[in-house]
Protein backbone atom coordinates (compact mmCIF):
# COMPACT_ATOMS: atom_id res chain seq x y z
CA UNK A 1 0.00 0.00 0.00
CA UNK A 2 1.54 3.27 -1.03
CA UNK A 3 1.34 6.65 0.58
CA UNK A 4 -1.37 7.78 -1.84
CA UNK A 5 -3.66 5.06 -0.62
CA UNK A 6 -3.01 5.93 3.02
CA UNK A 7 -3.65 9.57 2.22
CA UNK A 8 -6.94 8.83 0.49
CA UNK A 9 -8.08 6.55 3.29
CA UNK A 10 -7.41 9.36 5.73
CA UNK A 11 -9.33 11.87 3.60
CA UNK A 12 -12.22 9.47 3.30
CA UNK A 13 -12.27 8.99 7.06
CA UNK A 14 -12.42 12.75 7.51
CA UNK A 15 -15.33 12.94 5.09
CA UNK A 16 -17.18 10.53 7.38
CA UNK A 17 -16.65 12.86 10.33
CA UNK A 18 -17.78 15.74 8.16
CA UNK A 19 -21.10 14.01 7.43
CA UNK A 20 -21.77 13.47 11.12
CA UNK A 21 -20.73 17.00 12.14
CA UNK A 22 -23.12 18.40 9.54
CA UNK A 23 -25.86 16.25 10.98
CA UNK A 24 -25.20 17.70 14.40
CA UNK A 25 -25.11 21.29 13.13
CA UNK A 26 -28.42 20.76 11.34
CA UNK A 27 -30.11 19.42 14.46
CA UNK A 28 -29.19 22.32 16.71
CA UNK A 29 -31.48 25.04 15.21
CA UNK A 30 -34.46 22.72 15.70
CA UNK A 31 -33.52 22.20 19.32
CA UNK A 32 -33.04 25.89 19.92
CA UNK A 33 -36.33 26.85 18.26
CA UNK A 34 -38.25 24.28 20.34
CA UNK A 35 -36.61 25.53 23.52
CA UNK A 36 -37.33 29.18 22.69
CA UNK A 37 -41.05 28.55 22.94
CA UNK A 38 -40.74 27.46 26.57
CA UNK A 39 -37.79 29.36 27.96
CA UNK A 40 -38.50 32.92 28.94
CA UNK A 41 -35.29 34.07 30.63
CA UNK A 42 -32.59 31.73 29.39
CA UNK A 43 -31.69 33.62 26.24
CA UNK A 44 -28.03 33.58 27.29
CA UNK A 45 -27.71 29.79 27.19
CA UNK A 46 -29.44 29.56 23.82
CA UNK A 47 -27.27 32.25 22.33
CA UNK A 48 -24.10 30.50 23.52
CA UNK A 49 -25.23 27.35 21.76
CA UNK A 50 -25.99 29.20 18.51
CA UNK A 51 -22.67 31.02 18.66
CA UNK A 52 -20.71 27.81 19.25
CA UNK A 53 -22.54 26.16 16.38
CA UNK A 54 -21.78 28.98 13.97
CA UNK A 55 -18.14 28.92 14.91
CA UNK A 56 -17.93 25.17 14.40
CA UNK A 57 -19.55 25.55 10.98
CA UNK A 58 -17.07 28.21 9.91
CA UNK A 59 -14.16 26.03 11.08
CA UNK A 60 -15.48 23.14 9.02
CA UNK A 61 -15.88 25.42 6.00
CA UNK A 62 -12.33 26.70 6.21
CA UNK A 63 -10.98 23.14 6.47
CA UNK A 64 -12.87 22.29 3.29
CA UNK A 65 -11.42 25.32 1.59
CA UNK A 66 -7.80 25.04 2.78
CA UNK A 67 -7.40 21.31 3.30
CA UNK A 68 -6.45 19.47 6.45
CA UNK A 69 -3.74 21.09 8.48
CA UNK A 70 -2.69 21.15 12.07
CA UNK A 71 -3.91 24.63 12.92
CA UNK A 72 -7.38 24.35 11.40
CA UNK A 73 -7.86 20.90 12.86
CA UNK A 74 -7.15 22.03 16.40
CA UNK A 75 -9.51 24.98 15.84
CA UNK A 76 -12.22 22.59 14.75
CA UNK A 77 -11.55 20.40 17.78
CA UNK A 78 -11.88 23.38 20.11
CA UNK A 79 -15.05 24.65 18.43
CA UNK A 80 -16.71 21.26 18.58
CA UNK A 81 -15.71 20.78 22.21
CA UNK A 82 -17.17 24.18 23.01
CA UNK A 83 -20.40 23.23 21.23
CA UNK A 84 -20.60 20.00 23.21
CA UNK A 85 -20.09 21.93 26.43
CA UNK A 86 -22.77 24.51 25.64
CA UNK A 87 -25.19 21.75 24.65
CA UNK A 88 -24.53 20.10 27.99
CA UNK A 89 -25.36 23.41 29.68
CA UNK A 90 -28.60 23.56 27.70
CA UNK A 91 -29.50 20.01 28.81
CA UNK A 92 -29.13 21.08 32.43
CA UNK A 93 -31.33 24.09 31.79
CA UNK A 94 -33.98 21.93 30.15
CA UNK A 95 -34.19 19.96 33.40
CA UNK A 96 -35.65 23.07 35.04
CA UNK A 97 -38.63 23.16 32.65
CA UNK A 98 -40.82 20.10 33.26
CA UNK A 99 -43.11 21.00 30.31
CA UNK A 100 -40.18 21.20 27.97
CA UNK A 101 -38.68 18.00 29.30
CA UNK A 102 -41.93 16.18 28.64
CA UNK A 103 -42.13 17.54 25.12
CA UNK A 104 -42.03 14.73 22.59
CA UNK A 105 -39.99 16.50 19.97
CA UNK A 106 -37.38 17.43 22.56
CA UNK A 107 -37.08 13.76 23.46
CA UNK A 108 -36.67 12.93 19.78
CA UNK A 109 -34.09 15.66 19.25
CA UNK A 110 -32.18 14.52 22.31
CA UNK A 111 -32.07 10.96 21.01
CA UNK A 112 -30.84 12.18 17.64
CA UNK A 113 -28.19 14.37 19.26
CA UNK A 114 -26.97 11.54 21.50
CA UNK A 115 -26.76 9.25 18.52
CA UNK A 116 -24.96 11.86 16.45
CA UNK A 117 -22.44 12.46 19.18
CA UNK A 118 -21.74 8.73 19.35
CA UNK A 119 -21.36 8.62 15.59
CA UNK A 120 -18.95 11.56 15.68
CA UNK A 121 -16.84 9.86 18.31
CA UNK A 122 -16.70 6.56 16.36
CA UNK A 123 -15.95 8.36 13.10
CA UNK A 124 -13.27 10.36 14.85
CA UNK A 125 -11.73 7.17 16.19
CA UNK A 126 -11.66 5.75 12.66
CA UNK A 127 -10.13 8.97 11.32
CA UNK A 128 -7.44 9.05 13.97
CA UNK A 129 -6.60 5.40 13.23
CA UNK A 130 -6.13 6.28 9.57
CA UNK A 131 -4.02 9.29 10.50
CA UNK A 132 -1.83 7.10 12.64
CA UNK A 133 -1.38 4.60 9.80
CA UNK A 134 -0.56 7.43 7.39
CA UNK A 135 1.95 9.08 9.71
CA UNK A 136 3.62 5.82 10.67
CA UNK A 137 4.03 4.93 7.02
CA UNK A 138 5.33 8.38 6.14
CA UNK A 139 7.86 8.47 8.99
CA UNK A 140 9.32 5.03 8.35
CA UNK A 141 12.31 4.31 6.19
CA UNK A 142 12.57 4.76 3.18
CA UNK A 143 9.38 6.77 2.79
CA UNK A 144 10.72 9.47 5.12
CA UNK A 145 13.32 10.35 2.46
CA UNK A 146 10.87 10.58 -0.40
CA UNK A 147 7.50 11.61 0.97
CA UNK A 148 8.16 15.36 1.10
CA UNK A 149 9.32 15.49 -2.51
CA UNK A 150 5.97 13.96 -3.55
CA UNK A 151 3.93 16.57 -1.75
CA UNK A 152 3.43 14.87 1.61
CA UNK A 153 5.68 17.05 3.70
CA UNK A 154 3.49 17.44 6.79
CA UNK A 155 2.20 14.86 9.18
CA UNK A 156 -1.58 14.48 9.13
CA UNK A 157 -3.28 16.14 12.12
CA UNK A 158 -5.22 14.17 14.72
CA UNK A 159 -8.66 15.42 15.66
CA UNK A 160 -8.92 15.88 19.42
CA UNK A 161 -12.29 16.42 21.04
CA UNK A 162 -12.62 16.92 24.73
CA UNK A 163 -15.22 14.80 26.40
CA UNK A 164 -17.02 16.99 28.93
CA UNK A 165 -18.05 13.94 30.94
CA UNK A 166 -14.44 12.92 31.45
CA UNK A 167 -13.27 16.43 32.06
CA UNK A 168 -15.64 17.20 34.89
CA UNK A 169 -13.71 17.49 38.12
CA UNK A 170 -13.15 14.32 40.05
CA UNK A 171 -14.35 14.59 43.66
CA UNK A 172 -11.53 15.61 45.94
CA UNK A 173 -10.83 13.34 48.84
CA UNK A 174 -8.85 14.41 51.84
CA UNK A 175 -7.87 12.53 54.95
CA UNK A 176 -7.75 15.23 57.61
CA UNK A 177 -8.34 14.03 61.09
Amino acid sequence: MGIVKYNNLKDNAFAQIDVQLHRRHDLIPNLVETCKGYMSHEKQTLETVIKARNQAISCLESIKKNGLNNNLMSQLGNAESLLTKSLGQLQITIEDYPDLKANESIAQLNEELTSTENRISYARQAYNDEVMAFNTYKQSFPQNLLASSFGHSENAPLLVLENPKLRSKSPSVSFHS
Binding site: T114, S115, N118, R119, Y122, A123
Partner: protein, 275 residues
Protein backbone atom coordinates in the same frame (compact mmCIF):
# COMPACT_ATOMS: atom_id res chain seq x y z
CA UNK B 1 -6.12 -8.05 20.72
CA UNK B 2 -6.09 -10.35 17.75
CA UNK B 3 -5.48 -8.79 14.40
CA UNK B 4 -7.44 -9.59 11.31
CA UNK B 5 -5.15 -12.35 10.05
CA UNK B 6 -5.02 -14.17 13.36
CA UNK B 7 -8.77 -13.86 13.39
CA UNK B 8 -9.02 -15.45 9.98
CA UNK B 9 -6.74 -18.20 11.17
CA UNK B 10 -9.05 -18.89 14.08
CA UNK B 11 -12.02 -18.97 11.73
CA UNK B 12 -10.31 -21.44 9.46
CA UNK B 13 -9.33 -23.61 12.38
CA UNK B 14 -12.90 -23.60 13.60
CA UNK B 15 -14.23 -24.56 10.19
CA UNK B 16 -11.68 -27.37 10.01
CA UNK B 17 -12.64 -28.52 13.46
CA UNK B 18 -16.28 -28.49 12.43
CA UNK B 19 -15.53 -30.53 9.33
CA UNK B 20 -13.54 -33.09 11.31
CA UNK B 21 -16.22 -33.46 13.95
CA UNK B 22 -18.84 -33.77 11.27
CA UNK B 23 -16.96 -36.39 9.28
CA UNK B 24 -16.32 -38.49 12.36
CA UNK B 25 -20.00 -38.24 13.25
CA UNK B 26 -20.98 -39.37 9.75
CA UNK B 27 -18.55 -42.28 9.87
CA UNK B 28 -19.94 -43.26 13.22
CA UNK B 29 -23.48 -43.23 11.84
CA UNK B 30 -22.51 -45.28 8.81
CA UNK B 31 -20.69 -47.77 10.98
CA UNK B 32 -23.77 -48.09 13.14
CA UNK B 33 -25.85 -48.69 10.05
CA UNK B 34 -23.50 -51.45 9.02
CA UNK B 35 -23.74 -53.02 12.40
CA UNK B 36 -27.53 -52.90 12.45
CA UNK B 37 -28.69 -53.42 8.90
CA UNK B 38 -25.56 -54.91 7.43
CA UNK B 39 -25.62 -57.87 9.76
CA UNK B 40 -29.28 -58.46 9.01
CA UNK B 41 -29.01 -58.25 5.25
CA UNK B 42 -25.79 -60.28 5.14
CA UNK B 43 -26.41 -63.11 2.64
CA UNK B 44 -23.91 -65.36 4.37
CA UNK B 45 -26.27 -65.66 7.30
CA UNK B 46 -28.94 -67.30 5.17
CA UNK B 47 -26.43 -69.53 3.41
CA UNK B 48 -24.78 -70.70 6.60
CA UNK B 49 -27.89 -70.90 8.74
CA UNK B 50 -27.10 -74.48 9.72
CA UNK B 51 -23.66 -73.53 10.95
CA UNK B 52 -25.05 -70.70 13.07
CA UNK B 53 -27.76 -72.84 14.60
CA UNK B 54 -25.47 -75.74 15.33
CA UNK B 55 -22.27 -74.08 16.43
CA UNK B 56 -23.28 -70.57 17.41
CA UNK B 57 -22.72 -67.01 16.12
CA UNK B 58 -19.11 -66.68 17.22
CA UNK B 59 -17.90 -69.70 15.28
CA UNK B 60 -19.76 -68.40 12.20
CA UNK B 61 -18.10 -65.03 12.47
CA UNK B 62 -14.68 -66.63 12.81
CA UNK B 63 -15.13 -68.45 9.53
CA UNK B 64 -16.92 -65.79 7.53
CA UNK B 65 -15.85 -62.20 7.99
CA UNK B 66 -18.32 -59.38 8.26
CA UNK B 67 -18.84 -58.01 4.79
CA UNK B 68 -19.04 -54.30 4.24
CA UNK B 69 -22.33 -53.43 2.61
CA UNK B 70 -21.61 -50.59 0.22
CA UNK B 71 -25.19 -49.98 -0.88
CA UNK B 72 -26.44 -49.22 2.58
CA UNK B 73 -23.50 -46.91 3.33
CA UNK B 74 -24.02 -45.12 0.05
CA UNK B 75 -27.71 -44.62 0.69
CA UNK B 76 -27.09 -43.30 4.22
CA UNK B 77 -24.39 -40.86 3.13
CA UNK B 78 -26.56 -39.73 0.22
CA UNK B 79 -29.41 -38.99 2.62
CA UNK B 80 -27.09 -37.05 4.93
CA UNK B 81 -25.45 -35.02 2.19
CA UNK B 82 -28.64 -34.16 0.35
CA UNK B 83 -30.12 -32.98 3.66
CA UNK B 84 -27.07 -30.78 4.20
CA UNK B 85 -27.22 -29.40 0.68
CA UNK B 86 -30.90 -28.61 1.03
CA UNK B 87 -30.46 -26.80 4.32
CA UNK B 88 -27.36 -24.90 3.24
CA UNK B 89 -29.03 -23.64 0.09
CA UNK B 90 -31.97 -22.51 2.13
CA UNK B 91 -29.73 -20.60 4.55
CA UNK B 92 -27.55 -19.17 1.81
CA UNK B 93 -30.36 -17.01 0.50
CA UNK B 94 -29.49 -14.43 3.12
CA UNK B 95 -30.21 -13.20 6.58
CA UNK B 96 -33.67 -11.88 5.76
CA UNK B 97 -35.03 -15.36 5.11
CA UNK B 98 -33.65 -16.64 8.40
CA UNK B 99 -35.01 -13.67 10.33
CA UNK B 100 -38.45 -14.09 8.80
CA UNK B 101 -38.37 -17.80 9.56
CA UNK B 102 -37.65 -16.88 13.17
CA UNK B 103 -40.83 -14.83 13.12
CA UNK B 104 -39.12 -11.44 13.24
CA UNK B 105 -40.41 -8.26 11.65
CA UNK B 106 -38.32 -5.75 9.75
CA UNK B 107 -38.01 -2.32 11.37
CA UNK B 108 -38.15 0.43 8.78
CA UNK B 109 -35.31 2.95 9.14
CA UNK B 110 -37.83 5.84 9.15
CA UNK B 111 -39.88 4.46 12.01
CA UNK B 112 -41.70 6.86 14.34
CA UNK B 113 -41.68 4.60 17.38
CA UNK B 114 -39.17 6.22 19.78
CA UNK B 115 -37.63 2.94 21.01
CA UNK B 116 -37.38 1.51 17.52
CA UNK B 117 -35.80 4.73 16.33
CA UNK B 118 -33.29 4.45 19.14
CA UNK B 119 -32.47 0.89 18.09
CA UNK B 120 -31.95 1.94 14.48
CA UNK B 121 -29.69 4.76 15.66
CA UNK B 122 -27.62 2.41 17.79
CA UNK B 123 -27.20 -0.04 14.93
CA UNK B 124 -26.05 2.76 12.63
CA UNK B 125 -23.58 4.02 15.25
CA UNK B 126 -22.03 0.60 15.76
CA UNK B 127 -21.84 0.10 12.00
CA UNK B 128 -19.67 3.22 11.84
CA UNK B 129 -17.52 1.91 14.68
CA UNK B 130 -17.17 -1.54 13.10
CA UNK B 131 -16.53 -0.25 9.56
CA UNK B 132 -19.30 -2.38 8.08
CA UNK B 133 -22.46 -1.74 6.15
CA UNK B 134 -25.59 -1.17 8.18
CA UNK B 135 -27.50 -4.44 8.49
CA UNK B 136 -31.25 -4.60 8.36
CA UNK B 137 -32.79 -4.60 11.80
CA UNK B 138 -35.47 -7.04 12.87
CA UNK B 139 -37.66 -7.17 15.94
CA UNK B 140 -39.04 -10.32 17.55
CA UNK B 141 -42.31 -8.83 18.72
CA UNK B 142 -43.63 -11.81 20.64
CA UNK B 143 -40.63 -12.55 22.81
CA UNK B 144 -40.62 -10.85 26.20
CA UNK B 145 -37.23 -12.24 27.25
CA UNK B 146 -33.99 -10.40 26.57
CA UNK B 147 -32.14 -11.82 23.60
CA UNK B 148 -30.61 -10.89 20.26
CA UNK B 149 -29.48 -12.59 17.08
CA UNK B 150 -27.59 -11.96 13.92
CA UNK B 151 -27.82 -13.99 10.74
CA UNK B 152 -26.72 -14.00 7.15
CA UNK B 153 -24.01 -15.30 4.94
CA UNK B 154 -21.63 -12.35 4.74
CA UNK B 155 -21.52 -8.87 6.17
CA UNK B 156 -23.28 -7.66 3.01
CA UNK B 157 -26.52 -9.55 3.54
CA UNK B 158 -26.33 -9.77 7.32
CA UNK B 159 -29.27 -8.90 9.49
CA UNK B 160 -29.45 -8.32 13.20
CA UNK B 161 -32.40 -8.42 15.51
CA UNK B 162 -33.46 -8.22 19.12
CA UNK B 163 -36.48 -9.32 21.11
CA UNK B 164 -39.13 -6.92 22.27
CA UNK B 165 -38.06 -7.64 25.86
CA UNK B 166 -34.55 -6.40 25.09
CA UNK B 167 -35.92 -3.31 23.38
CA UNK B 168 -38.10 -2.35 26.32
CA UNK B 169 -36.05 -3.43 29.33
CA UNK B 170 -32.53 -2.39 28.39
CA UNK B 171 -31.16 1.12 28.63
CA UNK B 172 -29.48 2.76 25.68
CA UNK B 173 -25.99 1.83 26.86
CA UNK B 174 -26.95 -1.77 27.57
CA UNK B 175 -28.54 -2.07 24.17
CA UNK B 176 -25.39 -0.69 22.62
CA UNK B 177 -23.38 -3.46 24.29
CA UNK B 178 -25.78 -6.12 23.03
CA UNK B 179 -25.74 -4.78 19.49
CA UNK B 180 -21.96 -4.55 19.42
CA UNK B 181 -21.83 -8.17 20.55
CA UNK B 182 -24.02 -9.12 17.60
CA UNK B 183 -21.84 -7.04 15.31
CA UNK B 184 -18.78 -9.00 16.41
CA UNK B 185 -20.58 -12.13 15.25
CA UNK B 186 -21.06 -10.52 11.85
CA UNK B 187 -17.51 -9.16 11.62
CA UNK B 188 -15.90 -12.41 12.81
CA UNK B 189 -17.74 -14.41 10.18
CA UNK B 190 -19.59 -16.40 12.83
CA UNK B 191 -22.82 -16.10 10.93
CA UNK B 192 -21.39 -17.99 7.99
CA UNK B 193 -19.89 -20.61 10.28
CA UNK B 194 -23.27 -20.82 11.91
CA UNK B 195 -24.94 -21.51 8.57
CA UNK B 196 -22.54 -24.35 7.89
CA UNK B 197 -22.99 -25.66 11.38
CA UNK B 198 -26.76 -25.59 11.07
CA UNK B 199 -26.63 -27.40 7.74
CA UNK B 200 -24.29 -30.11 9.06
CA UNK B 201 -26.36 -30.61 12.15
CA UNK B 202 -29.51 -30.80 10.10
CA UNK B 203 -27.78 -33.48 7.99
CA UNK B 204 -26.78 -35.79 10.80
CA UNK B 205 -29.97 -35.40 12.77
CA UNK B 206 -32.09 -35.71 9.63
CA UNK B 207 -32.78 -39.41 10.18
CA UNK B 208 -34.14 -38.70 13.64
CA UNK B 209 -36.23 -35.88 12.18
CA UNK B 210 -37.73 -38.26 9.62
CA UNK B 211 -38.76 -40.47 12.51
CA UNK B 212 -40.41 -37.58 14.33
CA UNK B 213 -42.18 -36.56 11.15
CA UNK B 214 -43.51 -40.04 10.63
CA UNK B 215 -44.86 -40.24 14.17
CA UNK B 216 -46.48 -36.84 13.85
CA UNK B 217 -48.01 -37.87 10.55
CA UNK B 218 -49.31 -41.05 12.11
CA UNK B 219 -50.79 -39.17 15.06
CA UNK B 220 -52.60 -36.66 12.92
CA UNK B 221 -53.81 -38.85 10.12
CA UNK B 222 -54.72 -42.07 11.81
CA UNK B 223 -58.32 -43.00 12.31
CA UNK B 224 -57.16 -46.08 14.00
CA UNK B 225 -60.14 -46.41 16.22
CA UNK B 226 -62.34 -47.22 13.23
CA UNK B 227 -59.74 -48.62 10.91
CA UNK B 228 -59.14 -52.35 11.04
CA UNK B 229 -55.86 -52.16 9.15
CA UNK B 230 -54.41 -50.00 11.90
CA UNK B 231 -51.94 -47.88 9.88
CA UNK B 232 -51.08 -45.85 12.97
CA UNK B 233 -49.20 -48.67 14.61
CA UNK B 234 -47.14 -49.46 11.56
CA UNK B 235 -46.12 -45.89 10.67
CA UNK B 236 -45.41 -45.09 14.29
CA UNK B 237 -43.27 -48.18 14.66
CA UNK B 238 -41.21 -47.22 11.61
CA UNK B 239 -40.98 -43.70 13.03
CA UNK B 240 -39.80 -45.01 16.37
CA UNK B 241 -37.12 -47.13 14.70
CA UNK B 242 -35.94 -44.08 12.80
CA UNK B 243 -35.83 -41.99 15.96
CA UNK B 244 -33.82 -44.56 17.87
CA UNK B 245 -31.52 -44.96 14.90
CA UNK B 246 -31.21 -41.21 14.44
CA UNK B 247 -30.69 -40.67 18.17
CA UNK B 248 -26.96 -41.10 17.82
CA UNK B 249 -26.95 -38.37 15.17
CA UNK B 250 -29.01 -36.08 17.34
CA UNK B 251 -26.68 -36.54 20.31
CA UNK B 252 -23.57 -35.98 18.21
CA UNK B 253 -25.15 -32.89 16.67
CA UNK B 254 -25.77 -31.46 20.13
CA UNK B 255 -22.17 -32.08 21.10
CA UNK B 256 -20.78 -30.41 17.99
CA UNK B 257 -23.06 -27.43 18.47
CA UNK B 258 -22.02 -27.01 22.09
CA UNK B 259 -18.34 -27.31 21.27
CA UNK B 260 -18.33 -24.64 18.58
CA UNK B 261 -20.95 -22.13 19.74
CA UNK B 262 -19.59 -21.54 23.24
CA UNK B 263 -16.18 -20.75 21.85
CA UNK B 264 -17.65 -18.25 19.40
CA UNK B 265 -19.62 -16.51 22.12
CA UNK B 266 -16.48 -15.94 24.19
CA UNK B 267 -14.70 -14.62 21.15
CA UNK B 268 -17.56 -12.25 20.36
CA UNK B 269 -17.52 -11.02 23.93
CA UNK B 270 -13.82 -10.37 23.75
CA UNK B 271 -14.08 -8.71 20.38
CA UNK B 272 -16.93 -6.44 21.40
CA UNK B 273 -14.54 -4.23 23.32
CA UNK B 274 -12.41 -3.54 20.28
CA UNK B 275 -15.47 -2.26 18.46
Amino acid sequence: MKNFFEQQQTNKRNSLWLTLLFISASIFIIWLTQWLIGSISDKQILQQLDLILNQGWDIFRQQYNNQFDWTISLIVSLIIFSAIGYKYNQLKQGGNIIAIQLGAQLIQPNTYHPLEKQLINIVEEIAIAAHTTVPQVYLLKHHSNVNAFSAGNSSKDAVTGITRGALEKLTRDELQAVISHEFSHIVNGDIRLNNRLTACIFGISFIGLIGEGLINHALHNSKWLNNKNNPFGFTALIGLIFIIYGLIGTILAGMIKAAICRQREYLADANRHTI
